[in-house]
Amino acid sequence: MAKKNVEYWPLNDEQRAIVEMVKDFATNEIRPRGREVDEADTVSPVDIFQKAAVVGITDFMMPEEYGGGGYTDAFTQCLVQEQLCWGDPGIGNFVCSNGFFADPILALGSEDQKKQWLTPLSGPDAPFTALATTEPGSGSDSASMVTRADKVQGGYSINGQKAWISNAGLADQYVVFAKTDPSERSKGVTAFLMKKDTPGISFGEPMKKMGQRAIVCREMFFDNVFVPEEDRLGEEGQGFYGLMKTFDVSRVVLAAASCGAARAAYEYALDYARTRTQFGKPIIEHQAVAFRLADMATRIESSWLMTLHAARQLDAGEDVNGLAAMAKLQASETAMFVTWAAVQTLGGWGYSREYPVEQWMRDVKLEEIEEGTSDIMRLVISRNL
């Protein structure tokens, strides 16, 4: 995208300083590590998370009263996520992963729970956290989960299995969704807080993934895991509501992540097209290449505008269920197209692991899947028509 003197939406001086700082962080700390983390396959770059924690990237989105940066608005989160994921999609999402854990606690938690579980996430020594919803047989249809939470003396006994849990094993703190009433669908789901060392919790091997390998996912197993009553998040049956509530903001932020990754691939392809010569001229002077770059730029521009629009509507307290889904659908499918188009523009070099575009193409595929697939996004949009 062209350099602009007029911003998409007015930023205040603080937001401008934040964008500049995060851009520097992405350029110096994230981008140079992307390939190494991808090749390592199942090793999270813990040191980058720690560096991010020192400058406040890991907790900026949490409320000030729990020690966070206080930028709870989706708009600022989008500005940050776009820059981080421009650096590398997987690492960018990894360093902000505590936001996913915090969201249901902010939606459902009591004051004591917020203090106890969110305060440790602030500061330079923040632990990792995870959110456990998905199961081997329950993905898009999360109300069909079968992990059970049976009432016992003083609390609950959790039994079951979760799959695709980001940061599982690495994380110290977990929000786990389970059925307190298996006869119900969404109304039977309740959320629980637990620590990694709770007896009965075990983890599977790292799952082999196509991309975003900075975030290591594992299965989680629950064998008579006792959770005291005070660690139940919200009331029984409120878990699904809490989960749905977090989706609007997380989908808008993932739309921003997609925009950043798309911009990275577009910039890379544009630079290559200007310098690579074939048939006696730079390939950008061949219309087939130039028009593809035109499509890339156009789709990124519209995705970013839609993402920021959704963020502003969300921050203003509007119901953005449909709009958030539109932003994620548009931005994630744009990122998939743009990274594909970047590989195409670089040709054989695009297919090579010497260049980053093939990795970004694998990375962004996740954005058409996580926090609701593109199919689910269309379902949500259609229900909001």
Binding site: R16, A17, V55, G56, G69, G70
Partner: protein, 262 residues
């Protein structure tokens, strides 16, 4: 301990930089950023402040009003307050005039230790720290790769072609650092928030007691350099290809000698 760090905002080195052939000055209309070497100098001061409570770090700069952005960044990294010398008559000031003004600013704030980069990425004169030291009668420890600050003195190491020189000086002292002195920290989110509450004072020449600096007839400003003429870099011409027919070494040596390169 009071540490003053001299900073400057310069055109982004990642972008194309252009000289105005008429004025002989650098086109500063694009994106301007705090010079990286200044951030590294600031880091030296901030590290000492981290370990020694009660240390005060002030950033000082001379420049147009757009400089606020760079000073706020220095404050968000951890400096306590900023002093901005801003006066329209200083536009285009040369190294000598810059040093005169910054020396006055340093007299105004006072400092035990003055830190600066050894040269900026725009002018690259590398003389301002020495000029300031001369004006303030401070010992100068120039172009050091390392800086150790103790309660009594500063010790630095300067790399040379054959090894290194270890230097030390008591306070007050002027130190200029090279880019080897270490990476600067990122501003933190909390730093960015608190930076807007930190004092940033803007002073004109009169407030520094320099009202009588006067304007030079050639430029109509208080800047003191005069551009006599400017010449564009000659366009590149095609080079000569030396084909190796067994005597390329001799041919090459002859060519270099004829061009007075060896």
């Amino acid at each position: 301990m009071k540490i003053a760090v001299l900073v400057k905002q310069v055109p982004d080195t990642g972008e194309q930089r252009n000289l105005d052939p008429v004025q002989g000055s650098l086109d500063r209309s694009g994106e301007n950023l705090l010079d990286e070497i200044n951030e590294r100098a600031l880091e030296v001061g901030l590290k000492y402040k981290d370990a020694n409570k009660g240390t005060e770090v002030v950033v000082i700069s001379m420049g147009p009003d757009t400089l606020t952005k760079g000073l706020r960044k220095a404050l968000s990294m951890g400096a306590d307050y900023a002093l901005h010398v801003c006066d329209a008559s200083l536009a285009g000031a040369d190294a000598g005039r810059t040093a005169e003004v910054l020396a006055a600013a340093l007299r105004h704030t006072g400092a035990d230790l003055v830190l600066a980069g050894n040269e900026s990425t725009d002018g690259r004169g590398g003389v301002v720290p020495a000029m300031i030291a001369e004006r303030l009668s401070l010992p100068l420890m120039s172009a050091v790769d390392t800086v150790e600050i103790s309660g009594q003195e500063v010790i630095g190491e300067r790399g040379t072609e054959t090894g290194s020189v270890r230097l030390s000086a008591p306070f007050p002292v002027m130190v200029s650092v090279t880019e080897r002195c270490g990476e600067a920290r990122f501003p933190s989110f909390k730093g960015i928030i608190t930076a807007k509450r930190k004092p940033l004072s803007v002073l004109g020449l009169a407030e520094l007691g320099l009202a009588d600096l006067g304007s030079l007839p050639s430029t109509g400003t208080a800047a003191s350099s005069i551009v006599i003429s400017t010449v564009r870099t000659p366009a590149r011409t095609a080079g000569r290809i030396v084909v190796d027919e067994g005597n390329a070494g001799t041919e090459l040596a002859a060519f270099l000698r004829s061009s007075r390169l060896i």
